[in-house]
Symmetry: C2
Subunit: 409 residues, 2 copies
């Protein structure tokens, strides 16, 4: 079960002026399941995004990048679950374009004004006819207050839908931000089997919008790992409709830009953490903080060595303070001049190791007590600089194996 993650409440998800959402059951992988989402944007809305760095990136990722680069504004996003349209070669590209054209026909815009997204099984042909048949229903279903259903429609192995709204007052104008995301397995930066959509009614110039989504992703989705697998289909899209009264945000050093970035990063971080809390088979939510490093890169490198280690993750699943496994992971993280005698390891506030070994003050029962918790922080203090990094992961359980050994069945 997800770790300290409660389902969203529909009434708490705020509409974003300029965005309408419609969902449908298109029978893409199995019947009786919302598996198709259309997000229609008002004229003038701007969209920017970051995508997976996997070289085997999916056809919709390639097509969405193309469409973002063309001069006409984006008018809709089309998301299907149940099939990733990845590892599908030339036919995958044709299929992604066909679904865009089908939606464009219904909405009265160009196919290039549609961004396609797919998530699900890799290397199977996209059932284009079923998607096309589902689109009129999704379009008929479009409403501004439909974020709850939208969050549900993009779920795959997610147990809990992930959605959140925030409002922030900027220069006297109340700005609304609502975001949804999906993802549970194949989660590792740059990025994850992860789709995220965040919309705001602020107006943001295109270069600043792109900078903002990149920075928000770095603070959030690029700080999580479930299983170390980087997916073929990840995308985080930031939509700015410009429907609020706030003047267009243009300068990255403006107060409005910083306030918006902070609020959007907060939404992105909540969604990213929700993905880890709902990580496949997760029973523990683990924050890994690495401090006192020479630079952020080495802090992240050590953090990911810990967060990816199956031995560390299974020990957390067992609530077993077999914490030497964390030392081993630090030791093989690949920092050539690391002085292991200089670092400290903490579990929450409990000092576990220093001077290259177990701390004199450490008592097994203290470690045991922290390991029983569902939210735990591993803190490594390197004592060789001022840089730090923080990331989030979950434990590794029987259910992870169960879910992934039976994903297609």
């Amino acid at each position: 079960m997800p770790v300290n993650l409660t389902p969203p409440v529909a009434a708490q998800l705020l509409p974003v002026a300029g965005v309408s959402l419609g969902v449908a059951e298109a029978n893409i992988k199995r019947p009786n399941r919302k598996d198709l989402l259309v997000m229609q944007l008002c004229e003038g809305a701007r969209v920017a995004g970051v995508f997976t760095r996997n070289h085997f990136c999916a056809a919709p990722v390639i097509v969405a990048r193309e469409h973002l680069a063309q001069p006409d504004g984006i008018r809709a996003l089309l998301v299907n679950t149940g099939n990733a349209n990845a590892g599908t070669g030339e036919q995958g590209l044709r299929d992604a374009r066909t679904t865009c054209a089908a939606l464009a026909g219904l909405l009265g815009c160009k196919a290039a004004q549609i961004l396609p997204f797919s998530t699900g099984v890799i290397m199977e042909i996209l059932p284009v006819a079923r998607i096309a048949a589902g689109l009129p229903g999704a379009v008929a279903n479009m409403r501004a207050d439909n974020w709850f259903d939208a969050a549900q429609a993009i779920m795959t192995t997610d147990i809990v839908a992930k959605a959140i709204s925030r409002q922030v007052l900027i220069d006297g104008v109340l700005i609304t931000i609502t975001g949804i995301a999906k993802g549970s397995g194949m989660i590792h930066p740059n990025m994850a089997t992860m789709l995220g959509y965040i919309a705001t009614d602020a107006a943001i110039a295109q270069p600043q919008l792109q900078a903002m989504v990149s920075e928000a992703a770095n603070r959030s989705f690029n700080c999580i790992t479930v299983d170390g697998d980087t997916s073929t289909n990840d995308a985080l899209m930031l939509i700015a409709t410009g429907k609020s009264a706030l003047p267009e945000v243009k300068a990255a050093d403006s107060k409005a830009y910083k306030a918006l970035l902070a609020a959007i990063s907060e939404v992105a971080t909540w969604l990213a953490q929700a993905i880890v809390r709902d990580g496949e088979g997760a029973t523990k939510f683990i924050t890994v903080r690495v401090e006192g490093g020479k630079d952020e890169a080495e802090c992240k490198q050590i953090g990911y060595a810990i967060a990816r280690s199956p031995l560390v993750k299974t020990a957390f699943f067992a609530s077993d303070p077999n914490l030497g496994r964390i030392l081993a992971a630090i030791g093989y993280a690949g920092i050539d001049d690391l002085d292991v005698a200089a670092l400290e390891l903490y579990l929450d506030e409990v000092l576990v190791a220093e001077h290259g070994g177990r701390a004199a003050s450490y008592r097994e029962e203290d470690g045991q007590r922290v390991m029983q918790q569902s939210d735990i922080t591993i803190r490594v203090v390197l004592n060789r600089g001022t840089a730090h990094a923080r990331l989030w992961t979950c434990d590794f359980s029987y259910d992870y194996v169960k879910i992934n050994a039976s994903y297609r069945s």
Copy 2:
């Protein structure tokens, strides 16, 4: 259960002149278990080794490196299981030296002529008194034909003891090579929770012996991964007693050197594969071959991305040809200029993917048939060069989680 790995037969393990082995039950972690091994070497025997590259390397690794560097010959190896003496700081170093001194007293040599090795739980203090109390029994037990018991005495989570002998005729002289190894989890190159000891009665000059053990490790133990965790305690030691009639091997380009390297590499490869076949929870033995790369490094990089992926490994556990996960792993392996449309993916002889997607000839039942096997080869042909690499791994099962969630209990 181990994958196509049968226990060694004691009578097939050949003594190596100049090596005596004795084991004892020292109650290091639990009673009624062989957990202590002494290997005494004849005067004039040479020893060379390779060790873990983990910065949190264990105290015995540090002490063994020191002792190998001193001028007096090594006269014995001392191995305990049940406690890794890693993450134990200064006390760990003192403890390792104390056990060497205790054995040296019994054998009438210097403490620096003993190499210590430990494997087991990390970050717990070595029970020196119990080891010292067990040593006289191990020394009294010493025999040349004791390799079978020695292989059992170094097991931790291993299900099957790993030992093999080979004989090779070089310049008319029959040379014997016998090796033992242990390891099952925390297995990843450079190196593994892995201890390996290979002895031969050939005489080999020290520089050539060091070159030979490094090369043999690169061909074998550095080509395996179970869980991607590099251990704190790994060591592979090569012993050359010089008791055979073969003249000392001095030149790395000599016929004798090459013949010995081939035979020793064969023994090392058998042992390394045995570790994977007995990998924690393993139900499948998987060979990953990456061919047609620009250089060996990129082939290994792609191979390890596949071999480490929990999603690939759980799919193999389930015998589910969800082979898009292999494409995803290739895509995130970090080869910047990789053309995914140019590569081919095979499962044994079955062409699965080409032109960036599923091969036209691929039928699910063919993939399903190969996935049912217990020995499977994943072959990736990059079509961009002539380099290749091969490595071995296993699948990821419920039992891996079970074993590692309860390792200390």
